[in-house]
Symmetry: none
Subunit: 221 residues, 4 copies
């Protein structure tokens, strides 16, 4: 299942079918919402369009999510939940610090490459000054294991003498994420300014190699 929100438990027998249908209708709405909000932002997205893409009646938006904002919040929670899920799958324990760090940088890059909707929704949320992320208890408790993995890898590397000691994990995280994120989030304006197609597969591969080298070089003692 792509979303996390568990529907409220119902015990009526006949409602089984309804639950199935409900769950899929609800999920379809969330999936459609992620696409619409990512493509057009909160203000530009249309409830009608979301319902249409999901193939359900518009009223269900209000039934499940109260209003457009409620749907937006759930969509945001959903994309965060997805990345958290993927992050948990990372297992760095068997790797040395250099390899582990390389894995972390690569993961950051790859996830953004494959999930443009994550970038778009984050972007919109930042224009809202983080209104929803701050209002959502679920989001606040949805701790990322990534920063802890990064911290642990950094420590291991410092101790092993392969990483500089001067960086704190949060700043390192922001730099590591930033070199990938900015490439994707501003791909169109960068392409226009430099007159290069930065969304071409070859440009992507080249960029991926660059960001790993760049971060690891910066970490050298």
């Amino acid at each position: 299942m792509t979303t996390t929100s568990t529907p409220p438990s119902q015990s009526k027998s006949a409602s089984t079918r309804r639950q199935v249908s409900s769950a899929s209708a609800r999920d379809a709405l969330i999936a459609a919402a992620i696409g619409e909000f990512a493509a057009k932002g909160f203000a530009g997205a249309r409830v009608d369009e979301i319902a249409g893409v999901a193939g359900v009646n518009k009223q269900l938006v209000y039934h499940y999510f109260e209003n457009k904002q409620g749907l937006y919040l759930v969509a945001l929670e959903s994309v965060y939940a997805q990345i958290r899920e993927k992050e948990k799958a990372l297992s760095l324990d068997a790797m040395g610090p250099l390899e582990a760090m390389s894995e972390l940088v690569g993961f950051s890059f790859d996830y953004l490459a494959e999930h443009p909707e994550f970038i778009s929704l984050l972007t919109d949320e930042n224009r809202n000054r983080g209104r929803y992320i701050l209002a959502s208890d679920r989001l606040k408790t949805m701790h990322s294991p990534f920063i802890e993995m990064l911290e642990a890898t950094l420590s291991r590397g410092v101790e092993a003498g392969v990483f500089r000691a001067e960086y704190d994990a949060v700043n390192l995280y922001i730099s590591m994420a930033g070199v990938s994120y900015f490439f994707f989030s501003n791909n169109h304006t960068l392409s226009a300014i430099f007159g290069r197609s930065l969304d071409a597969p070859s440009a992507l591969l080249q960029r991926r190699r660059h960001v790993i080298a760049f971060v690891l070089n910066a970490l050298r003692p």
Copy 2:
């Protein structure tokens, strides 16, 4: 000067006043538009609001810019023109490569710190898939001197043996800009996730130091 090229004020009494008044209505609209579009995006911005903030009649938007999109385009051109203007003021010739690179990284950081509207407009433009930047001849010809300065500084440093030779200038630019840009563009969500106020002055200063160190470290041979 904040808006598009306006003729310098002249001292002829009669005609000047008219020109000034005309220019100021137009300029006031552009300034207000930058603020509105930055705060709410294209879809969320309200023509009424822009005119109200500018203190002029709403219909002047249509008189001067044809429609909301026209105003948006001019606002976008305006913020690009501003940064290009500042970039031209950079003079690195008297500096050694290390100092010059440090200056470039610091400039990137400082400009974004002082111009959140630049970030917001770029962000929105990227959600539009760069539609306006591609459509604007003015924007396409508004070449940035920055990338050439970076290229020159990089070459100087490589020749002097203080920089690695492996980076190409565009990728280096994106990394250098990204470590600052991402910090500002995603400040709210990062603050929420890390439970830190990354917009506090001290966090800003600390980040500034980090990005300069990070980039220069990555450049070491």
Copy 3:
């Protein structure tokens, strides 16, 4: 320069040029107005468009004609004046009643064929319930010689025994005009309904022959 392009002030002596230019500006406005009002009706016509087509400043409309309605009235008077002028050129005295009547019918047809704007303006004026024609003293005193010519021709023919005596001139006029007018005024819907191109030159010629024959046949004793 982005602001108002100040026109080079010309202080050439002769007001002659201005007067000449005035007269032609006024005429140009009337000509453009006839075209616009004919093409789009009073409500659909745009003052800006009229001024643009005439190549003069919009303000002149208000200077010469007070407002849009004033211009419309003058345009209407103008097309009436034109047809009155043409009607005066008809000289039937040397013809027999049959030939004269044929001439009158042919004239009605030809004038409408050549002056679609006359039809369009009359049409719009009728939708206004004749508001302007009733309000205009000029139009009310712009007597048509046509109806008197028709009356005289009819009398001559009745006396000569070649026309029936039963028709009164006004009804005859309306019938004679109607068989041509309806063909032109409703040419598009008639073409669509009958699936024929009634605006083709051959259809026009055929129609012309028909209306003359039809009216003369109806007049036979």
Copy 4:
């Protein structure tokens, strides 16, 4: 039924009321639209006014007809549908050719006399150069039985030796319709020019007699 196809009334209590209510909102809009468009033309008509007259919310115009043009098209189809309906009720088979022709001419006159909105909408549509009638499949397939009745009556009369053989049915139709149509469509300007009240009941009756006589006289061998 006056408006476009409405679902046949059913007798289930609940659903019927809804359908009726739905249908009536739609029908009320069409009826109001016919009046407004006839009175002021497409450009002059106001959506607000139409909704107000219909007593429904303005936005239902967009709900049912997409936009102003869509409503205009349906209004046009509606008036065409009305006349087609009436035409079908004509039964000429039991009459001789003279009586039948007289019936056809009288019908043309009477329908226009009773349906000024039909004239007005046709007029506006012709100013549009038949744009809507050409775009509407419904209108193109809404064949008129009138022209076939006229053709049959003409043939019968020619064979019986009471009508001239020279007229083709389309030209005859245009002449027959034109002598009535022009009288009504241009009633106001004609009244003004001739200084007669051509919309008085007596003038109407007199005109009716004239057009029948005129057409039948023209048809005599």
